[in-house]
Symmetry: C2
């Protein structure tokens, strides 16, 4: 096991009816800016629950954060904060809304002109942030218990991640009941996103970490068991609760201490979303099977363990078991209705491969746990998608 540090100060409040707990979690004297997305929270009752819980608060609102949240939209919220003031940000929505809120909390304190360039591109440290909390409504990104986010910039077709310990949510309210009304596509996207988060932390090379590995595989196994159940019965509480807790634990780094991580599927997937606007979960489902095939030898031991422990494979030879794992993962995605080929989304693989290769060459990219996925490797992977 490698040396590691871990600290997540977020207070998680999980379960039925927990939105009403908001007044215990936000100081009555704070001016609260509630940030939300495209309006689904107004249809499913979450908006009303939040407004009711925060009666008597000095509350302003900013709606309209889009999936794959845009810097251009965040800037409007930052302007609102600069004009009207706010000393607590409350994200109400999915991971996109929360990622945007995290970025806004930092960028509102940034003194220069171009916060995207500073925080996302140049990785500049911003020393202060507005405190934030969230009511998270989509099991997917795990943003509710980590210090990161991903923000896109329309002007340049960019989609980049950032991290800062200042953006850990003070609290995250997770009420699985609010996911009963999710469109199937979002439920599936979230399951795939969670699955791939776990893979990025698990599926590298062995550093003798049986506890972390077993925990990662338990999340994957739970997802494969709960996914068909949620599609058959979207309003079963336990199923929704298990999927949500898998999503949170998929990226709160409880499976990550001391292990080697990858994240190349995400970095390549982000480019597909940036260029073609496909959903984040879709981009991951397309890239991962081909990336795993490309990196099979290096990842064979972990893939083989996955094949045996998650999919019950009896194959004793690691490289053969690795093949089974890759097949079974793609089969699992397809079985829940997630398409895994660029052609399924009307995207030409040659064009996509070329575009991503060019961008990665410019950035001099070397992805993967061993830094071996260069622009050329990414081309080889995408061309097979």
């Amino acid at each position: 096991m490698n040396n590691f540090e871990y600290c997540c100060p977020t207070h998680v409040v999980f379960g039925k009816g927990t939105i009403s707990r908001l007044p215990e979690l936000i100081d009555k004297n704070k001016k609260v800016l509630m940030i939300y997305g495209g309006g689904s929270i107004k249809k499913n009752g979450v908006y009303d629950q939040v407004k009711k819980a925060l009666e008597g608060y000095n509350l302003i609102e900013f709606g309209g954060i889009e999936p794959n949240p845009k810097y251009e939209t965040c800037k409007k919220a930052i302007d609102l904060i600069k004009n009207e003031g706010a000393d607590f940000l409350l994200s109400v929505g999915g991971g996109s809304t929360l990622d945007a809120t995290k970025f806004i909390s930092l960028a509102a304190k940034y003194q220069g002109d171009d916060a995207y360039d500073a925080i996302m591109v140049r990785g500049e440290t911003v020393g202060d942030a507005i405190a934030l909390g969230d009511v998270i409504t989509l099991p997917a990104t795990g943003s509710e218990m980590n210090n990161g986010g991903v923000i896109s910039r329309l002007a340049t077709d960019e989609k980049l991640p950032f991290h800062s310990d200042l953006v850990y949510p003070k609290f995250s309210i997770i009420d699985p009941e609010v996911t009963y009304s999710l469109p199937t596509r979002q439920t599936i996207n979230g399951i795939v996103d969670t699955f791939v988060h776990v893979m990025e932390q698990y599926c590298t090379y062995d550093v003798n970490s049986p506890l972390q590995d077993g925990w990662a595989l338990t999340i994957l196994k739970t997802l494969t068991e709960e996914a068909p159940r949620v599609l058959a019965n979207p309003t079963d509480y336990d199923t929704r609760a298990n999927i949500f807790w898998c999503a949170t634990c998929g990226l709160n780094y409880w499976i990550a201490p001391g292990v080697v991580q990858d994240w190349s599927t995400h970095m390549i997937g982000h480019e597909l979303t940036a260029f073609y606007g496909i959903d984040h979960g879709q981009s991951l489902a397309i890239v991962m099977p081909r990336l795993l095939k490309n990196q099979k030898v290096s990842k064979a031991k972990k893939l083989a363990k996955l094949a045996r422990e998650v999919f019950g494979a009896n194959e004793p030879v690691d490289l053969k078991a690795a093949d089974i794992a890759i097949e079974k993962i793609e089969e699992f995605f397809n079985s829940i209705g997630m398409k895994t080929r660029l052609a399924d989304y009307g995207i030409d693989s040659h064009e996509a491969a070329q575009k991503i290769k060019e961008r990665f060459m410019k950035r001099n990219v070397a992805l993967g746990e061993k830094g071996t996925i260069t622009a050329d490797t990414a081309y080889d992977i995408i061309i097979e998608c």
Copy 2:
């Protein structure tokens, strides 16, 4: 899954050479009281490492915390703080030293006369505590990432737990190398303590929590695999690291969100330690197999899952598989040199059963996840030990 809340703000710094990181973790302006145990840290080099790391700090010391730390000893440290002042407590040692430090941090702020009676017996809330951190040197109690402790009082043969969010360590430094020199008895005690911590959180009744259950079983499986390795090769870093991380995760509540907990083995075991002075790990190893037999029907589903997933049992009938689990657990304890009968420690089971029954009757005790373990049940369990 039940509703739950989770928040652990402790900053964990894990790995080789991490004691030297102390100056990053404690403010230079703090007056630090270093609290330690019986002096093993002076033999194994930990004391010197800490002193070197904290050169230039205003540092005072209090040594002599014993296993099953005593209120009487803690009072001396509290008097020292009242006389000399201290605004940061650094625990250097095992879980006993850390539990004592947690208690001292609260009790030093308590205004009344009898802090034990207030905090432990009457459960009074103390609103303030001195900040604390630790260098934890024994994988066992998990105290390094939770808000609890257990303190005994010699005068009354009592051993009671307490909890307060104010006593979460600000940081915990875990360097598995410092455990190379542990006496075998302490290594074994720690493994059993961790095993039973996990059992207390896992082995109750099913609330549809596959992720938490799988994680609990992964810790148990890892312990059964690593235990013989550490006995064969006490200075293998990875083995020591895996055992330490199991111990921390055994009681940082990462396996506990939303599940039902038991803790009756601990509560009965505490009495054995209070009356007869046996090690905490020993007390658990004696009580648990008999308690599980007594509660077998109620715990059958979880025991059966454990038998199959940890010990590879093929028995399809839950009650029969539960028997296998109980047998295998005791076999595992015995296999690593832990004796599991009162007679092995020269304790008369009739006397012990009678003493504990009387005390539990006075306290009107109803232990276990369903509150069904009364004074009479405890008698029935101890008599079989």
